[in-house]
Symmetry: C2
Subunit: 331 residues, 2 copies
């Protein structure tokens, strides 16, 4: 049973999920938990995982190409269970059950370990799965926030090698996303323009941090990048929610995303990375002022005491330098 | 030349410090930079580092016991340099030089790799050095915030093995500390009580998260711990700034801090950890409502995509369970 706890000083939420301590590992991240012998994500091992909530197939194949399953070691509790357990004596003042959806996207039937190894059509199917699951879980009125994320490599926090991504839908809006929403709304009220649109205009004029552009999408290194080589991928034209992306735009996005992943690998030689898809919370009043975007974060340097304690960041590679290296690398 | 960059959406500060990319490593964290052959912190190698800004000796010894030096790979630029460079064409709109102090406390003349190996009197001298340097740099009117932190072990972000800690004084208040200050002030205005005092009262009544208590100090696992086994060490009686701690209290604090470090090692077998000393910024209006505290964070699990992207945290070990394990371990 997962539990939400509010920090008594800061008011931030922490998800307490003791059930995740027993999840299996095959990436060397096995400080706790047991080592996995059979890859539960490979085709043929479907009985090692919960039943799929969705599968996507290639046009010309019967078998699944992308498989979406509930996370067996979920960080949250299903809304049904959380509801029936609400109010039990297990609860401490200030904590409540942590309801939500935690799903895994098995991104390939074969045991690839890196997104860069996947074909363009396969990546396109993954993006389609992300969009469709976001659309589906956002309908639930208890969902306040949804996020898609990918951990690739042990240094990025991955516990299993097989290419996969995750959806986490929660009953609260996390601190950083809440701050983005507030800032977006305030910026609009003050200027009549979206904060992300204003940022994009400045970046496209300046060009030093632009990596590549296509018809509908821009890939850049953020001006205030927190991590060396951090990238941001976003549409030119503002769109609050990723779940409304058209099939045609998914195809255009696929090309830019693959370019980003290949460039990351070329410049930072197989570095672990996180990918986060930030999309407007379905029912937040700040939604119209949001602009969905992906953040791709190579994990080259540790997160040390200053960052953990202060919430401020020290970055040792300038985004202009990173963008220049990305621009000049082949992809 | 370090630079401060403000995130155009969130308004958070990032310190851009390309000079730190070339710092030496001997902990296995050497993704970039060069490997160190001679330990620059060992007695006899003082000429490998900048000249000390302070040294502390044992009562009955001539040689230094703790040595404080400017960080050669500073995350910030000295206030003098930053001032003279202000307004050059190197600056981008929205970025300014990052002035401050970044100092290293060499915590022992001999090559110890863990704080738990240091004697009680040695730890007491380290705390004295922290207090005295905080007092000194806080006098500078350009300093908005000071933090002491320790990274022990590669997983905690340490680049050198030899026991050391750091002071970072900046011209801005980091996001998380700013939020603590705001919350502390609001809590006082609403209730007439300090937020930390209220939290301590609840915890001392409940007792499930208390690890140990002494005459003036309490060691506990925070209710909304972000990391497995996270500890908080704080004085019973509110005191905003660590720099006003008396010599007598430093001795009492030493005993509890050593207990915490030994218990951490017993329960989590040599785990890497961060220690952060949060003390009220010298000139912040929220200062009277702050309560200095130390956070000790074992680094057992990686920080993955959800945390990096959302600013919310998933913790797989309940603080009640952690406190119980700490309580029953010897120390």
């Amino acid at each position: 049973m997962s539990e939400l706890r509010k920090d008594p000083i800061l008011g931030d939420w922490v998800i307490l999920a003791p059930g995740r301590a027993s999840r299996p590992f095959d990436t060397g991240n096995n400080r706790s938990g047991e080592s996995s012998e059979v890859c539960p994500f490979c085709k043929g091992n479907e009985n090692e995982t919960p039943a799929a909530v969705m599968t996507i197939s290639d046009d010309d194949a019967d078998d699944w190409a992308v498989r979406v399953i509930p996370n067996r070691y979920s960080a949250v509790t299903s809304f049904d269970t959380a509801g029936s357990d609400a109010g039990t004596s297990e609860q401490t003042a200030g904590s409540i059950p942590a309801p939500g959806y935690h799903e895994v996207f098995v991104e390939s039937p074969t045991h690839h370990q890196a997104m860069r190894e996947l074909s363009e059509s396969q990546v396109s199917l993954i993006l389609q799965a992300w969009r469709d699951r976001l659309r589906e879980v956002s309908v639930d009125p208890a969902v306040a926030h949804t996020m898609i994320f990918r951990n690739e490599g042990a240094a990025a926090g991955a516990s299993l090698e097989h290419v996969h991504s995750q959806l986490l839908a929660t009953s609260f809006v996390p601190a950083r996303i809440g701050a983005e929403l507030d800032a977006g709304r305030t910026h609009y009220e003050l200027t009549g323009q979206l904060a992300w649109t204003a940022m994009l205009e400045r970046e496209l004029f300046d060009r030093r941090r632009i990596i590549t552009e296509s018809e509908h999408f821009v890939l850049l290194c953020p001006f205030a990048s927190r991590f060396p080589g951090e990238m941001c991928l976003l549409p030119h034209v503002s769109s609050p929610g990723f779940e409304t992306t058209s099939d045609e735009d998914l195809k255009l996005l696929t090309a830019v995303l693959r370019k980003a992943i290949v460039k990351l690998d070329r410049v930072f030689q197989g570095a672990a990375f996180n990918l986060g898809l930030h999309t407007a919370p379905p029912r937040d009043p700040g939604r119209p002022y949001y602009h969905w975007h992906m953040t791709i974060t190579p994990r080259l340097t540790g997160i040390a005491g200053f960052e953990v304690g202060s919430g401020a960041w020290i970055n040792i590679v300038s985004p202009e330098d990173a963008a220049n290296r990305y621009r000049t690398s082949s992809s």
